[in-house]
Symmetry: C2
Subunit: 274 residues, 2 copies
DNA sequence: CAAATAGTGTCTCTAAGACAATATCAC
DNA sequence: GTGATATTGTCTTAGAGACACTATTTG
């Protein structure tokens, strides 16, 4: 850096220009087992998303994605991981940036630009981790998520034991497989988080078709049927086993271990390929 | 909004918390014809990107993507369109957000988070539009772009009449087909714009394989060969005509018009579907 | 006619979808 | 054996890739 630059920088003050606040919002997904149906039946798996009940205004008592303000000396990725840890005690490894929401009126507190992230918690981590409310959040809870596509509209339904949240969204633009959403009805979600969740679901479904992100839901070793169940929970559609396995093969490596004591033929365990 | 919320908002001051500056950087691509080779030969088409020569520090005299600071009352998309217009007099319709760059040390002026966008100018607009330097920029120029993939590394080469810019990048992570890049060598580009351009090229190539974005390079009516030339310029690879046409058919609609006076068989003109 | 590009036909091979058949455990 | 899930086989069809062939203009 030459002298001219150094002098310029000495005089330059970013604070002289208007700046927004920047936040991150994280959509964390996982898979939860339903109650055993019958005799030796495998339990059904449902796709879940982690929400917190807001303890402070604005939108006090509404449910929201975990997240918070970007701080100096961190990237938006670091910020997302930190906020998630603070608010839900959840440790995640992989975060994917799925969009930016910058409508000036999107937050009643003022000019706030939000970065949406997607992440996945695997079932093993879930067991070892008590998801619990951190600083800001009054309450943290997993919600079963359903995202139905009826042509022009999408219906988002979030259910936990005592609470049901729903939203109706309109798909507005298609760009390279991704959509943008407009909120038509909103029932219990804070800010524009219905939009963010809709984008996250679209992203998740898209990537699951390419077997991406699926393994993040599972422990290191898993059966092929496990993977299929994850995909079915994400897409909401059943898959044909034989075909699913064939397509999956290039992405996994055989191990010499098998499941045991399941009341039926043992299944070979696999690991993800590189 | 209830009274509690209103009182909370009255007292709440976003300015009490640290905030970054937010900018947009736009990678604008277009196709330029090379000089006619022979007799009745069609001219070759080359992929180009629009850069400006910085007139002020930091990085004075380096080449950079057009872009600038987010202002209140605009979205990042509006900001990108406005900055592009101001700096290059180019009017673009469709902008795609392709990433966010938030490394705290990425800009010597301080804490600046940048949003990368991708856009395309079609050849008709190009003719009617004098791309020229606006306020901030000393000079605006189109550069032929080459982006070679040698396994672990990518070589980016930007050429205009008098100037050659180059950069070497390392692919570091693969996420759902997208990569992240690390700059190994940088020769003439400002900031981390080598990274941004690499991401934009990856995105462009990905979408062009699904025939997305291709039509944005062309006027409303075009021949199938036109589309093929666009794809070849983007991927850097030749395509087999018969197969390309078959795959393209679902995305276009026939018209009753044909090209004329080209010195060879006339070609039917098509329009994009939907 | 020659030069140049436009457009079609067809063969092969791979992969997806549908569905049937067989295998192996616990009880 | 029964109930449950695991795993393999195979038929059909759609589509990608390669390449040869025909068509139509201007000079």
């Amino acid at each position: 850096m030459n002298q001219e630059e150094q002098e310029f920088l000495k005089k330059y003050r970013l604070e002289d220009y208007p700046r927004p606040s920047v936040t991150t919002d994280i959509a964390v997904f996982s898979l939860h087992s339903k109650i055993q149906a019958g005799y030796r039946r495998e339990p059904d798996k449902k796709l879940c998303i982690l929400l917190i009940k807001r303890g402070n205004p604005p939108f006090r008592d509404c449910w929201a994605l975990p997240g918070g303000f970007l701080q100096p000396d961190e990237t938006v990725e670091t910020c997302a991981a930190r906020e998630l840890k603070e608010e839900t005690c959840a440790d995640v490894h992989l975060l994917r940036h799925i969009g930016i929401f910058s409508q000036p009126e999107r937050d009643p507190r003022g000019w706030i630009v939000s970065n949406a992230f997607l992440s996945v918690l695997n079932q093993e981590n879930l067991k070892n981790m008590e998801i619990q409310a951190g600083d800001d959040a009054a309450c943290v809870r997993w919600f079963n998520i359903a995202f139905q596509d009826s042509g022009q509209y999408n219906i988002l339904t979030l259910e936990s034991e005592k609470t049901t949240i729903s939203a109706k969204l309109k798909k507005i633009r298609n760009s390279f497989g991704m959509y943008e959403f407009e909120i038509i009805e909103n029932n219990g979600l804070a800010f524009d988080h219905a939009k963010v969740i809709a984008s996250a679901m679209t992203y998740l479904r898209q990537s699951s078709e390419q077997f991406d992100l699926l393994f993040d839901f599972l422990p290191e070793q898993f059966t092929l049927a496990d993977v299929q169940k994850v995909q079915e929970a994400i897409t909401g559609e059943p898959a044909l086993t034989a075909n699913f396995r064939r397509k999956l093969t290039p992405y996994v490596v055989e191990t010499d271990t098998f499941t045991k004591g399941a009341g039926h033929r043992p299944a070979r365990l696999y690991e993800r390929k590189s």
